[in-house]
Symmetry: C2
């Protein structure tokens, strides 16, 4: 990872399509170039495909993830159209293609049902356990309010919280660290084409589900919505493959779908189903998977409708079972885990003048972007600190327990010192009203915010009558919850950041609404602070996660009123623009910190020279190349004949490491270079069976005799890999990569000779910063 011979800086800007940068490469370094041919080319032709001359040792860089070392690979979204593949396609009848299509629909239905059921399970268990916990604490508080000694209640609360969180943190830290957090960064990467180990395994799902329950019941400032997206994705990956490698069960169905191209489509449908179950937003789900994995949606009509189907099924399933659980079967009014409640667009409260006022006060909601950026910056520093010092699992568990105890203590203190007593109206909808030191028939308003699951607090802030909170309560709550949520995100527990963001935003939004109303008491239109809470929630969430289109649709679907669409959208856009000025979105920060080669919507660079194989290659050479850990390449161009000189040879095809490993495992060797295999021994099935966990090269034993044999790669290689001429501009390469979801792109000269290979990793090393194209600073431990 060291001796990079040249650093390259591009002065980049948006190209005409508004997508990627276009610019001039400036060679900063001055030492003699290693491969003078390429460099002279580069120097002569500005703004071209640049070969940054990375030494070969750099190719298989180890990426340092939070608390562990991960080798991140790319997924293959380009079909390998080799002879095997073509022959199979030709053998299949029209009928079997139709059956495949039906299977896809069935799988999407199953994904929807299972995702809905998981959401339902989480919701019911959390509600039961949290209810129990709050009941116990409430009784204790009631008991000790009179006699004194409320510290016992505090300790009870803190201990209960810490215990739940401890369980949640232990299973995450010791069993499956990838299940930490919301999982949205990981799913973003997966949809973008980065293979993250273990991210879609059954074990991850189990840990995720129980982890979420523990963290939410443990009273942390977290939500259970984000993890649903990850859960949906895991369900999709599992169901679509028709087998579980964790359980060692192969149902022998859906074998056709065992490859990256198909699996990714299903995972995207699963993520959509997850969003749909979390927020009751099927269209938002589809747009989410579109926005995050949009790069290869060149088959939109074919797949989006399936995603939509899965989303619909998932929200209906959740709704159906929840309605049965609540004893009102058929009441389809809770389509998601979080329900914003119905916002009516009554004329009185939302007239034209109000509209203009909203526009005028938008600048106030730029605050969302600022607060979001602050949140992200604080969390960034915290995460760096965690990567450096809190990387041992037991330390992580202890930190999580500490946060849980502190959360309980702070909440208790705030409630204890608050004197915001509100009358307990007849139609009060507080689940656990705490009287504490209030008069009879009154309750403590601070407790509705703190002594509650975050989902309920959000709903109270949106819908409680004007006057339910006094400004001081809201101010203090915003302040403390902001820091608690910021500290919590990134802990080794599985939990999401959506709900805490909404809660912070709703609190200060409502505060603004109250202040505004107090300045202009004459206008009754401004009396409802709930709407300000909604806009504030959108601003804060937008400022933290920086999604726009899908988030707007999700919020509109969750509020159930399209009238709020325009203000929500404007707020989200403003928050994004303001926030982006300071810091990236929280998911992008975490992706960067985990050093995953994620392709942004911005510009990149690439590398050379490459190791090529002959069409008929010596087994020994292949084994040596694959075993060489320093050249941990994943794709190898196949060329007509590598001459002994350094002259590049003509491109014939491309073969993958995984294919070579299967070939070596099945010993598809010929003894002489000239003799061809009369009978092919391998079928596509052999490749599918090995998918996706191909054995490492070390597990394959090749005898000394076999090393002298030859392998004929012709019928296994992809004979028509995508290529670009060497003077292609960077944005053009980037566009091709994103549009087709490529993993490798062969660079050829004007005689079709291989002179380089562009991989996703090469592209992701650079990003478009404020001063043109910059090299990414990898996080150092």
């Amino acid at each position: 990872m060291a001796n990079i011979t040249k650093k390259v800086s591009w002065s980049s800007r948006g190209d005409d399509s508004g997508l990627v940068g276009e610019g001039t490469p400036l060679l900063n370094g001055s030492e003699a170039p290693k491969h003078s041919r390429q460099v002279s080319m580069v120097a002569n032709l500005p703004s071209q495909l640049l070969l940054p001359l990375l030494p070969e040792e750099d190719a298989g860089s180890c990426f340092i993830s939070h608390s562990k070392v991960t080798l991140a690979h790319s997924l293959d979204y380009d079909n390998i159209e080799n002879q095997l593949f073509l022959e199979e396609e030709r053998r299949m009848s029209h009928m079997s293609f139709r059956c495949l299509e039906i299977s896809r629909w069935v799988i999407c239905g199953l994904i929807g049902i299972l995702t809905g059921l998981i959401a339902c399970f989480i919701d019911i268990v959390v509600e039961k356990l949290a209810g129990l916990k709050y009941q116990v604490i409430k009784e204790s508080i009631l008991k000790f309010t009179e006699v004194g000694g409320l510290s016992v209640s505090l300790i009870l609360w803190a201990v209960l919280n810490s215990t739940f969180v401890m369980v949640g943190a232990i299973i995450v830290a010791f069993i499956e660290p990838i299940a930490a957090g919301s999982g949205i960064p990981q799913i973003k990467c997966y949809l973008n084409g980065v293979k993250i180990p273990r991210v879609v395994r059954l074990k991850t799902l189990m840990v995720k589900v129980f982890g979420v329950i523990c963290s939410v019941v443990g009273g942390l400032a977290v939500g259970k919505e984000g993890p649903m997206i990850h859960s949906g994705a895991v369900v999709a990956a599992g169901v679509s493959q028709g087998r579980s490698t964790s359980l060692k069960r192969d149902f022998k169905i859906f074998e056709y779908f065992r490859r990256d191209t198909e699996k990714r489509d299903f995972v995207s449908a699963g993520a959509a189903a997850g969003v749909s179950a979390a927020f009751g937003a099927p269209v938002g789900g589809v747009l989410f998977s579109l926005e995050e994995g949009a790069s290869f949606w060149n088959q939109i009509t074919v797949w989006q409708i399936k995603s939509f189907f899965a989303s619909m099924i998932s929200t209906v399933t959740l709704n159906f079972f929840l309605s049965i659980y609540h004893g009102k079967p058929g009441d389809l009014s809770s389509p998601g885990l979080i329900n914003f409640g119905r916002f009516e667009s009554d004329v009185r409260n939302f007239d034209t003048k109000q509209c203009l006022v909203y526009f005028f006060f938008l600048f106030l909601f730029c605050a969302g972007g600022l607060l979001g950026a602050l949140f992200n910056v604080l969390n960034y520093w915290l995460t760096i600190f965690r990567i450096r010092y809190v990387h041992r699992p037991c330390l992580q568990v202890m930190e999580a327990m500490l946060v849980a105890a502190v959360t309980a203590t702070v909440s208790f203190t705030m409630i204890y010192f608050s004197n915001d007593c509100q009358p307990l109206g007849p139609e009060h909808n507080e689940e656990y009203p705490l009287q504490l030191f209030c008069a009879d028939g009154e309750y403590n308003a601070m407790a509705t915010a703190f002594f509650n699951t975050p989902e309920r607090s959000v709903r109270s802030l949106f819908h409680n009558q004007p006057g339910s909170y006094n400004p001081l309560t809201l101010g203090l709550f915003t302040l403390t919850y902001f820091f608690l949520a910021c500290w919590t995100y990134g802990l080794a527990v599985s939990a999401g950041v959506f709900i805490p963001s909404l809660l912070i935003g709703a609190a200060w939004g409502r505060l603004c609404g109250i202040l505004l109303a107090s300045f202009t008491p004459s206008n009754p239109n401004w009396a409802d602070p709930g709407k300000y809470a909604l806009i504030g929630a959108a601003a804060q969430l937008g400022g933290i996660v920086r999604m726009t289109l899908s988030l707007t649709v999700i919020m509109v679907e969750a509020t159930g009123n399209v009238v709020y669409g325009l203000p929500i959208m404007l707020v989200l856009m403003t928050a994004k623009i303001v926030g982006d000025y300071f810091e990236e979105g929280i998911y992008d920060i975490h992706i960067k910190l985990q050093s995953v080669p994620f392709l942004h919507w911005e510009a990149p660079v690439m590398s050379s020279p490459v190791i090529c194989f002959n069409r008929i290659e010596k087994v020994g050479t292949i084994v040596d190349t694959l075993s060489n850990t320093s050249t941990n390449h994943n794709g190898f161009p196949v060329v007509a004949q590598v001459s002994d000189s350094d002259e590049p040879a003509k491109l014939c095809g491309l073969i993958l490491r995984s294919q070579l490993i299967v070939l070596l495992k099945h010993k598809v060797f010929v003894e002489l270079a000239q003799s061809r295999l009369s009978q092919r021994k391998l079928q596509l099935k052999d490749f599918r069976d090995a998918y996706p966990r191909f054995p490492p090269i070390q597990s394959i034993h090749v005898s000394q005799d076999e090393r002298e044999c030859m392998m004929d790669l012709t019928e296994f290689m992809n004979p028509t890999p995508y290529t670009v001429p060497q003077d292609t501009s960077l944005p053009r390469v980037f566009k091709l990569f994103r549009a087709l979801g490529l993993r490798h792109l062969v660079v050829v000269d004007d005689e079709n000779r291989v002179i380089g290979l562009v991989t996703r990793k090469d592209l992701a090393r650079y990003h478009l910063g404020k001063h043109g194209l910059e090299e990414l600073q990898l996080a150092q431990t």
Copy 2:
């Protein structure tokens, strides 16, 4: 267009991605191939890029559009990254890129506002005029019911209708024939990359708007919603270019956006805004433009949010002005031209059992697919008939008038002979209740369906009390309206098919609901036929237009209730599957009949050999090639040096006809092949000023001396056109074309020598039929 030396049939099936076909080429013909080299290649390598050996005369095929001959070109969505372009990009500062981005937002806002205003204008004028017309007729009927002589009323009705329709038909047939119909097929083509002449001109917009008003007021079985999409697109194309070639005004703004890539993005936002204004469905609008123009959405996050913004603005504008017009400013309850009214998901009417019943009765709604297919087949035959015999404008006007008169007569007859009298309740919402022969305090139910604008009829069918219609009325109405609508679509008037489809479906859906309720009178849940009307409307519309994702979202947004999402989606899917078995969607039929080279989501084939230019080429050669009407190519590969032998030469770049014309016009000549131009005379601005109406080659005069000069194409050509090797499979080529929105793809051999050129037209010539890949039958006059 004749001597095609070989016809090729592919036995195609969906490839792995479910997208495109994969198959074996079977050479049917047996005569000696003209270009034996390519053919032998093809014969040896099955399933490869096939060169169907079309003679060169075939390249510029004339496409026969309805009643006129049109030359359909492709749009260029691939940026020409030549030296001019790169230099301009380099000169531009970061600030100017930001300004461009802001301009894009401003333009999208303007598009939304203008589209909303147009929708508002159409709505108000139609309401006024139709109100006037129905008032006059109603008074006449009232007068003559008593005294006899109702035939005078009939004649009055027929004459009024015919007059309005005549005006509408005359402006369409004589002034701008492209404004006929809904414009959705044309916009689909445009978004897909086919340049249809005059489709986004100001004149077209004017004709469209007034044409729609005339046809709706003229009482035809049409809607005003479809044309809104076309109108939005025209507005977008106009605003984004900052000039009007029709009005000969150039505002000297937005000059950067004067090219196909940018313009198409704006047009797609405009189409979204149009959908949004028509149905009050901003998300549906975005999905519509995504579904129809999905091929090149590799920049989804960047553009979709802008489309969404335009959509939001358009629906808010419409709502705002309509609310002012209706005297209730701020009442944001009519977000679109058509408003389905609020469907409540009350528990009583939509319980679990009801859900299951819906699922069970879905098969009944396959009828939607069948009826839709029937509609399409009938309309297909009718259109063929029209293309053959009714292609003179005056005939078209007469046909339109005939239809208008017949519609009035049929309506009148139905009302006259109907004896379905309903009591006029206190909360009746009929606009023009006709008493006719009914008792006092009653009205004629048939008249609510016929004596009304179609939008109001749809709403009555959805929301009127159970028992408002008797089954016979509905049955007769369905039957007559079906044939009327079928006859009407394709007339030379500008009008849409959405509302008639909804109306037919709502009528038979309500009929089904009534019959069902009468069989099971015990169950009060089935008493509301309005819900069946909604499902029926969805089924019929889906069966006719065959959209799925976007249509579901549009319907859900129009009903304002996400609970109906799943049944609507299932109905639309069923209708599509059933309908596709018989016939394509109505828009695809009309696209096919107009023989536009539209790229479907299915597989294609391509052609060779090509005419190449040298980097430094003789002016005479270029002029001759461009002038040769039989080789009406639009893109020419530039090669290193064309040898005199038939050997192909190495590819250097690609240059377009339009570029060459600009070069010729500015006489960028050098006298000797060896001398290079010291000073370049042309700027990108010169190309932009000529865009999009490049002068024909005939208008450029080149003297005999100049013919001997040379032109240096190096700095104007695109130096890195996308290429594929000759053995690339068809689906792969197709994927590349769709994903990147290409117009030309150069086919090279393994030494990078040009051996063919794939154009959109070549790909569109073939389509995937029931028996594999079939050659498209072009419509013959």
